[in-house]
Symmetry: C2
Subunit: 112 residues, 2 copies
DNA sequence: TCAGACATGTTGCATTACGACATATGCCGA
DNA sequence: TCGGCATATGTCGTAATGCAACATGTCTGA
């Protein structure tokens, strides 16, 4: 992924993770995998971006994590959206929509 | 401007400035003013964000600056898009379009 | 058995954006 | 004429994010 993509992604990650958890509880690795899928490879997250982000979201009370260890399965930490997380997601979506529209308009990107 | 906006803006600034210079040579203060106008206040740039950004773009050869001092006018530095800047703008537009679409799709923002 | 996907984690660096501060001019109204 | 506001450029230090590189261990299929 190019440097510019790196900069572009700043700030979006939080919303993307929260949005994914809206569809059900997931663990970190799966969240990253699904973001990659849904974006058809346009958005990728590695461990060094993802796990610290999940801790931040948890510390802020937007998601709740719990360890799940089943016999014959690796240990995983599943996250669930908290009510505060849901509210934050709503807010983020609205802010991002405004931001995307503004960027598209100012840069004359078209199809905004 | 909230903290989140700050993060969101990362990476977009470069394209916004280049896009504005497409419409003609401008000086820093005017660039900031026009971005504010075009975005209806959604995007704002202060001196501490703008001037360092202009230097970076100039150092990278994407824009060309020249001082203009007229009697009865403050000194201003006008910038012009270089051919390399134009090429970079084209590339940035395409990358951003892809990025915006991906974010909208993954976060289910709607109206993408 | 060995490679590769799965799964989580840390350290340290590069980069960006900006609040606060600094400086100076032009212009308008009280 | 004096004060305040918009114009115009600039710097310093800080906060925050994203990631390459590294580290550890499990499960599965060839």
């Amino acid at each position: 992924m190019r440097h510019d993509d790196r900069e572009r992604k700043k700030g979006a990650s939080e919303m993307l993770v929260l949005a994914l958890l809206e569809g059900g509880d997931r663990h970190g690795y799966e969240i990253a995998r699904r973001i990659g899928e849904r974006s058809e490879g346009a958005l990728r997250y590695g461990a060094a971006s993802l796990y610290p982000l999940l801790y931040r979201l948890e510390r802020r009370g937007l998601i709740d994590g719990r360890w799940v260890e089943k016999a014959g399965q690796r240990r995983r930490r599943f996250y669930r959206l908290t009510p505060a997380g849901r509210r934050e997601l709503t807010r983020l979506r609205s802010d991002w929509r405004r931001f995307l529209d503004a960027v598209a308009r100012v840069a004359e990107l078209g199809r905004a």
